[in-house]
Symmetry: C2
Subunit: 79 residues, 2 copies
């Protein structure tokens, strides 16, 4: 079973990396970019077979290691 | 218009960062993780209004700056 975790900075948290990308894109002539936010994507191969149990386990991974929940939000897709 | 770019290492390219995450998860007791791949997620706010033109523009951004197409693959969602 595969899980895909998306981790982004919470709204309102400054994203200097995204801002650097926006600036670089502007320098390359992409002037119609109003904003950029950068996040992380983590794909997990799980041996679990129950989707609900897998989602709960991945949520524990996010809370414990993958995301900094003070400033980041995460979402989980199970496939 | 929003665009979401997903950038992952190509299959077959070693992902030491993903492997480090897998190892750390194992150390925290998450033993049922068979593999981890880490990628990037970039959300773009575009002033463009035509979805097809926006997709083509974002593809140019990926080829020119956002992705290293020698070792990375990207996918684009327009919303």
């Amino acid at each position: 079973m595969k899980a895909r975790v998306t981790i982004m900075l919470k709204d309102g948290v400054l994203d200097p990396q995204g801002e650097a990308i926006r600036h670089a894109l502007g320098g390359l002539g992409h002037k119609d970019v109003a904003g950029v936010r950068q996040g992380k994507l983590i794909e997990l191969d799980l041996t679990a077979t129950d989707p609900e149990a897998a989602r709960a386990e991945v949520a524990r991974m996010c809370e414990g290691l993958l995301a900094n929940t003070v400033i980041e939000k995460y979402s989980i897709e199970i496939a």
